[in-house]
């Protein structure tokens, strides 16, 4: 099957969800969520069957915008998986969502708005369209297709971040994300304009050739690189463009935060890898590009990990944690390719992002349940969780151990390859910063484990003693993720072999 069918199916799935909501009267609109998950699972399976080129039509203009290679297939898979988990969370989240959308009801009135599950189908459909955008991003190989795919994703995120429109936090997050997103888009387009001006090309392969030519204008090329890097650092949340992350992550509805932190970041990194490739391959620019990336990576690791230390809101803590993981990922990006016997940076980043997806989604699935059933996002709510819900506490323990990088988990293998790559390149200072960051990470991730297992809730008789109800689909997802974290932590070759 040609690869571009995948995105078409995803878009049609999104339209189907909207149409079914319009023309079929459903008693419980959450079933639309199951429809969406089922459809995305089918696409995920189809993703393994695609062929790499267009076959007969391989020379049409389409193939200068769109490539199908191993990273593209990999990141399409990640986008689909992230979307599936996000919609699963949205199903659990629907009650809180309607509170954020519907006006307050009078005492005697029936709550029509919440009863009708207003806007729930849009909350399922928008992530599907965003998923299609992310899949286009994974395949984009032309400045124009990169830009339109990126904007599709970003505009979708503007909407779902502000989705709970009666909730001040959600609105504030939406406005902040909108303004900073627009600013970063401005930088991106300006950078593209410079890149086009310097090379005269818009297709990335042709740009790579042009940047390797001896007569390329060095200053102009570096300026284009700087502008593009600024824009993408906004997207992936690297220092000093990470300011928006904590507020937006905290204010956005829980499933959207998970989507931002996994999907948006993975899509940002695939674009970063694609756009940096021509610059890294150019001998004249390589040294400057690498040194800038090393500095940003070191600053990001240091800031993300140290700022996470005093946090008491779990969502905010994971926001800083996502900044620090962006730093570790940049460590791999800053390493040049072509060392025989070691994984390539692309493979290391891809593996790390898959591991990051598993452990972060695991944490967010559990946070989402606690948020819905206990109405609390603070660390307080997790005190004594091991007594009331041992299953969830164990799953959270696995997520935190993997995020911290305890051996035998996927998170450890991801960090391991990143450090190997950085040592290979002799970035010793960067490795030192990485070690400091990872050590600080142990403190704040294990702080949560401590409060789940050793602390008792502040008031014993309250809701904290009631077990958290876990519906069976969510339970299956949690079990799968826990197994995945261990399986790919012990046997990373199962994933990495794709890249060798």
């Amino acid at each position: 099957m040609p690869a571009y069918y995948l995105e078409i199916i995803v878009v049609v799935l999104g339209l189907t969800v909207l149409m079914v909501e319009t023309f079929v009267s459903l008693r419980d609109k959450r079933s639309l969520g199951w429809l969406a998950i089922l459809g995305l699972l089918v696409v995920l399976v189809l993703n393994f069957t695609v062929v790499e080129t267009g076959g007969e039509g391989g020379n049409t203009p389409f193939w200068s915008f769109y490539v199908m290679d191993i990273p593209a297939q990999w990141f399409k898979g990640l986008a689909l998986l992230a979307t599936i988990f996000v919609i699963l969370m949205s199903v659990d989240f629907s009650r809180v969502l309607s509170k954020g959308i519907c006006p307050e009801v009078e005492d005697d009135g029936v709550d029509d708005c919440a009863e009708n599950q207003v806007a729930l189908s849009e909350f399922f459909a928008l992530p599907i369209f965003i998923c299609a955008g992310m899949m286009w991003m994974a395949s984009a190989h032309h400045l124009v297709s990169i830009f339109v795919a990126l904007e599709t994703v970003t505009i979708g995120f503007y909407v779902i971040v502000a989705f709970m429109r009666r909730n001040v936090g959600s609105l504030e997050a939406g406005v902040k994300y909108l303004i900073l997103g627009a600013l970063s888009t401005g930088f991106l387009v300006y950078g593209f304009a410079w890149l086009f001006g310097v090379t005269g090309e818009m297709e990335l392969g042709a740009i790579a050739d042009a940047l390797n030519a001896p007569d390329v204008h060095r200053t102009g090329a570096l300026f284009a690189f700087a502008l593009i890097l600024i824009a993408l650092c906004f997207k992936i949340g690297a220092v000093p463009f990470q300011i928006w992350i904590p507020d937006v992550y905290q204010g956005a509805p829980m499933p959207v935060t998970a989507f931002l932190s996994v999907g948006s970041k993975a899509a940002g990194f695939v674009i970063l890898l694609r756009l940096l490739e021509p610059f890294m391959a150019s001998e004249m620019l390589n040294a400057n590009v690498t040194s800038v990336l090393v500095i940003i990576a070191a600053a990001t690791i240091l800031f993300g990990n140290l700022a996470a230390l005093p946090q008491t809101n779990f969502k905010r803590l994971l926001a800083y944690s996502s900044v620090s993981h962006a730093g570790f990922l940049l460590m791999a990006v800053a390493s040049a390719p072509a060392h025989p016997g070691v994984v390539s940076p692309v493979a290391a980043v891809s593996y790390y992002l898959a591991a990051y997806l598993m452990m972060t989604m695991l944490a967010f699935l559990i946070m989402n349940l606690i948020r819905v059933q206990r109405g609390d996002e603070n660390l307080e709510a997790y005190k004594g969780l091991a007594k009331s819900s041992p299953f969830l506490a164990f799953a959270m323990l696995v997520a935190m151990a993997s995020l911290a990088g305890v051996p035998l988990t996927a998170g450890f293998v991801g960090k391991f390859w990143v450090f190997v790559l950085a040592l290979q390149e002799k970035h010793y200072y960067l490795v030192a910063f990485g070690v400091i960051g990872a050590a600080a990470g142990f403190y704040y991730y294990l702080k949560i484990v401590k409060s789940m297992y050793w602390d008792s809730p502040a008031d014993a008789g309250s809701s904290a003693a009631v077990p958290v109800v876990v519906a069976w689909p969510t339970r299956i997802a949690i079990v799968l993720l826990v197994v995945g974290v261990f399986y790919f932590g012990v046997n990373p070759g199962a994933l990495l072999s794709l890249f060798l």
Partner: protein, 173 residues
């Protein structure tokens, strides 16, 4: 010939000055309506620059879409806002200083980069007299070579439409 070039240069500077002055007016003015009108001035200056480069379609769209439709929308929204609170707002010294610092650094950087290019190092060729109009060329490109991005933009607009309905409808049913 000589005279025409001087004229073109003169017009370039005049319209650039209008665009820059308009853009400055947008951020310096406290009254949002004045800001919006300054933005229109900036758009008109830009449109003239595009037309000078023979990009007639881009220039006209700049005026029709941005100067016309988008600005009318802006003004509507501004009229609905509480103007008095905007006028009273004061900016802290720190915010102004930081904003100035960042923009000065950026402009200095840009000037350094531009200074690296010698004037006239890249000259645009003159369009052949029998070339197709730019509307025709852009239209052809969009629906032949660039059909894929155009389709993606369609999905983008769908997302935006859904978003506007969900976020702004008064009573969702």
């Amino acid at each position: 010939m000589e005279q025409a070039e001087v004229m073109l240069d003169l017009l370039f500077y005049i319209f650039s000055a209008i665009a820059v002055a308009g853009a400055l007016g947008v951020i310096v003015n406290k009254n949002p309506v004045t800001s919006a009108f300054c933005l229109i001035a900036a758009f008109i200056g830009l449109a003239a620059l595009f037309i000078q480069l023979d990009a007639y379609l881009v220039g006209i769209i700049q005026i029709l879409v941005y100067g016309g439709a988008v600005m009318v929308l802006f003004l509507f929204i501004i009229m609905l806002m509480d103007m008095a609170s905007e006028e009273r707002r004061r900016f802290g010294l720190g915010a102004v200083a930081a904003g100035l610092l960042v923009s000065v650094v950026f402009v200095v950087q840009l000037l350094r980069v531009l200074g690296d290019y010698s004037p006239g190092s890249k000259v645009l060729g003159v369009l052949p007299a029998d070339a197709a109009t730019d509307v025709e060329q852009i239209g052809k490109l969009m629906f032949t070579q660039y059909y894929f991005p155009v389709q993606v933009v369609g999905v983008l607009l769908l997302i935006a439409t859904i978003g506007v309905i969900v976020l702004s409808k008064r009573e969702l049913k």
